[in-house]
């Protein structure tokens, strides 16, 4: 059995933005399912914690929401990325890649590199 990890503070928001960027408008449940699937069920996220994050992103103007019909034709609230959200996603992606690269270099470093 694989070890599950907690979600770092703030990363959930980034995952939401990326999911909406890739898949287009989704309702809350859809976003939660996609995050689970993509993470390979490695994340222990209570699906409920998603909603405060969605609220914050909406307040910040990164995403917008409206009522629409879900697959079984019942009403659901759909979230979509706004232009500001896309910009934010790009900026945060760059930040994460940079951090990951730096950490990666530290892990790859061997003793002889420092001589």
């Amino acid at each position: 059995m694989k070890e599950k990890t907690d979600v770092l503070q703030g990363t959930l928001a980034l995952m939401v933005l990326k999911t909406l960027d890739v898949l287009g408008p989704l309702h809350g449940y859809g976003i939660a399912r996609r995050i689970e699937q993509i993470s390979g069920d490695l994340l222990t996220v209570n699906q409920g914690t998603l909603y405060p994050v969605l609220l914050r992103l909406e307040q910040e103007g990164s995403i917008a929401s409206e009522w629409g019909a879900s697959e079984n034709n019942r009403k659901a609230r759909f979230y979509r990325l706004t232009r500001d959200g896309r910009k934010q996603l790009q900026a945060e992606t760059r930040g994460w890649e940079q951090t990951a690269a730096i950490i990666g270099r530290f892990f790859a470093a061997k003793a002889e590199d420092f001589q």
């Binding site: 809350g28 699906q47 409920g48 405060p52 910040e60 500001d84």
Partner: protein, 226 residues
Amino acid sequence: MRALRRWVKRLTSWAKTQQNEERLRAEIEKHLALQTAENIRAGLSPAEARRKAALKFGAVQAMLEAYRDQRGLPLMETLLQDTRHALRRLRKAPAFTTATVLILALGIGATTSIFTLAYAVLLRSLAVANPNELYRLGKEALCCYYGGYSQDKGFSLVSYDLYKHFRDNTKGFAELAAFQAGEPLFGIRKIRKYIRAYAEIAKPFRWCYSDPRRRIIPNPIAGTAY
């Protein structure tokens, strides 16, 4: 910019609290229904599917708390609630409310008027360039001609000749000015006449004014020239 937008949204969120609450409930319900449906498709019994869905969602109440804390400004909302509560209680006890309001009004009114008086008499500087260089001459603290011949300790009146003597021979003062003693004044026309007269006498005082448009107007009733 994002933080500002969020803050504005939070500030105005109370107007739509009810609507938001309903929306969130609908969303949670929808979420659980979709998860339940998926669990049923995976082969669970409806009851078990529902239970698993709720488990996966996590504690609804805790999530609602977190959601509400983020939605508005909790501090403002509590303040608003407390104010409403206080107003309700006040309305229920009109006698107490009236008494309190009256006492407060009297207290504030009295303090304000006393301060206004103290400010005018004690604290405010005279409207001249160097008020600390102005002196009033006389034998007593209440030196001058004061509301008729009614002073106990003699009248601090000097003759015009003595004034001229002081003026010409007191080197410590840059200028010296005097005004004529007169009867107490009550009529407006009389006051105007005297003000004109005083202003004429007090001309030498003009040197101490920073603003040349301002003229000295001695107080004709108290009989003191500042």
